[in-house]
Point group: C2
Amino acid sequence: MTEDELPPRRARKLATRQALLDGALRLLEQQSLTSLGLREVTREAGIAPAAFYRHFGDLGELGVALVEESFGSLRALIRDIRTPEADTEDVIRRSVDLVAAHVRAHRAHFCFLARERYGGVASVRAAIAGELDSFVRELADDLAAQPESEGWSAPELSVLARLYVNVLMLTAASMIEAGPDDPAAEQSILTEALMQLRMITVGRRYWTENR
Amino acid sequence: MTEDELPPRRARKLATRQALLDGALRLLEQQSLTSLGLREVTREAGIAPAAFYRHFGDLGELGVALVEESFGSLRALIRDIRTPEADTEDVIRRSVDLVAAHVRAHRAHFCFLARERYGGVASVRAAIAGELDSFVRELADDLAAQPESEGWSAPELSVLARLYVNVLMLTAASMIEAGPDDPAAEQSILTEALMQLRMITVGRRYWTENR
DNA sequence: GAGAAGAGCAAACAGTCGTTCACCGAGTGA
DNA sequence: TCACTCGGTGAACGACTGTTTGCTCTTCTC
């Protein structure tokens, strides 16, 4: 096994930086980024207020860092969803299951993304939009590689991909809003998402002959 | 023509209440409800901080009132969209146009709704969700009355209606994010929304034979 | 026209806020 | 080993916060 691989100096700095991110994320489950206080965050992280400036110049910077962290864990989910060959129904079903599992495992991250996607900090909104765009592009590429996409133009595939992504993001947001302790509500949200994805996919199948 | 119809006492009270709502809405274009300050709002409305309590016990109460006001203007839009008989393509096109016009006319209201739909104040989130639910129910009823809905169950119609509503709400949110002075971006958002609605509608047409 | 009601005000309350500053002490690199 | 870098500290700053209190002055009610 390898050693820590990091000089203790940098390691400690990264650790308290992470403490700041974790503390902020915890607080952001109940409020929005614009209402977050610098002292509040440092209190939650267990450091002095002034130490904040050693890591971020601004609470907005911390917000952007949180976006990167959130999408970092999302990328694993995306990689799991992207399986080139499989029955369409299976892909849909597995996508919904994976999103559900991921929301359960990273509730705070999704809560943050849902809240700040149209929140009050422009730089954070832009960061989220950019990450979602690259997600949409990846999905559009995957869709393009499938035989069902014969006769589809690139813009059409992009629009379809965004529709899929939006449904999944709204599903995640609904799960967050339902709370973690309501399996019945969660189940109905997931079956609804399943049906919406199926409807869209039926539309996709007959699109070229009805466009 | 009729007189003011209102005792001057109540009229004045309603006027300053409206000034509070207007001022808050103006501030909420750049921040979120949880970060809104009571003094900030009263300053914007031109009254003393203490006078706030004559109208609302709480900033959350003001938020709920803003939800009602926002959906009040939305209801006019919904009534316009609901036209029993028309070609499906026409309905889609007209819906997108109406949403676009309504966003342009009531930008601040949509900005508020997009931001607080998953924002930090639970009572406001609940109020928005409730209004959206009743919107979904109305649309589902309209859809049920159409001949294309033969063979559809009530839950299926509800799911479809929610999908339509979500697309329209996300379209509005995208328009807000693009800003009022970018006609090119606005046009591409609207054509994307149009295509998404068409794809869903194709799915609807072939749903019963592919479900 | 007298008295009650109530919308709005200024002032004061104890807190909290973001930011700056000099300073400490442990890790770093020669 | 010695100078140095630098993450973290505690104190202090003025500004701003939500809420309460007692008070005006207009409007309503009888």
